[in-house]
């Protein structure tokens, strides 16, 4: 059997890649995709612990996380379309009206 902490290492690595994507990319769509990567890392952890504790509660929470991801993608992409219509850009560092 594969030890549970291997799954935790995989989740950590995926989470870090997602964080790097959120912090370094300028394209808003790629930032949203990096958030999906982070949510998937969380799901791996939840399912690994659900297996570890022999209970399906973790999988149920993973389903709720996927629900959140769907809602976040819908609203986020709607925001991107509205932003692009108004500012003609998808770069996160040019959308700084609320800054200072």
């Amino acid at each position: 059997m594969i030890p549970t902490h291997y799954y935790l290492f995989l989740g950590t690595a995926l989470f870090t890649i997602g964080v790097i994507g959120v912090l370094t990319r300028r394209n808003v769509i790629v930032i949203l995709m990096s958030i999906e990567l982070i949510l998937n890392a969380v799901n791996i952890n939840l399912v690994a612990f659900s297996r570890y504790f022999q209970s399906v509660d973790g999988q149920v929470f993973a389903i709720f996380v996927i629900t959140d991801a769907a809602a976040e993608a819908a609203v986020g992409l709607g925001l991107i379309i509205a932003l692009f219509r108004n500012k003609e850009t998808v770069n996160a560092d040019e959308i700084d009206l609320l800054k200072w």
Binding site: M1, I2, P3, T4, H5, Y6, Y7, L8, F9, L10, T12, A13, L14, T16, I17, V19, G21, L23, T24, R25, R26, N27, I29, V30, L32, M33, S34, E36, L37, N40, N43, I44, V47, A48, S50, Y52, Q54, V56, D57, Q59, V60, A62, I63, F64, I66, T67, A69, A70, A71, A73, A74, V75, L77, G78, I80, I81, A82, T89, V90, N91
Partner: protein
Amino acid sequence: MLAQIAFFFLSTVALVSAVMVITRRNAVHSIIWLIVTLFSVGGVFLTLHAEFLFAVQVILYVGGIMVLFLFVVMLVNLDVSLKQAQFRRHWWVALVTAVALMAELAYGIYRGGEGFALAHAAAMPLGGGNTQAVGLVLYQDYLLAVEIASLLLLVAMVGAVIMAKRKIE
């Protein structure tokens, strides 16, 4: 042995394609690589005997959310941003910080990892398969949470329509 080969293969594919997601210049390529990542994460769910979540991952994530992403990328004109710099100016600060974070987390898991060896090799204790077990827990113990999640989806749907509408009167 076969399970370990499958796990290492799937996690390698997931990590490599995740790196491709955040480094590609073209957003459409990023989406294709993200689909590869999501499929391999679904495979990792299969190695954990979470068959229902694998199906949800493929149908909802790959079939639903990624198609939504593709639609938006096609709607938004990305030709201008293709020629611009893809990373922020101080990207190396973020890189160093994130790698330090990963090192801390990995060190913590490494120190505590001995206690995480899988307790039993047996399958899920409930009979009738994974889907039945998940469904029973979902609709008995977490009924209120399901209702709240459905309300959240409704609000998100209305919000997406309002956001993407051409003009708000």
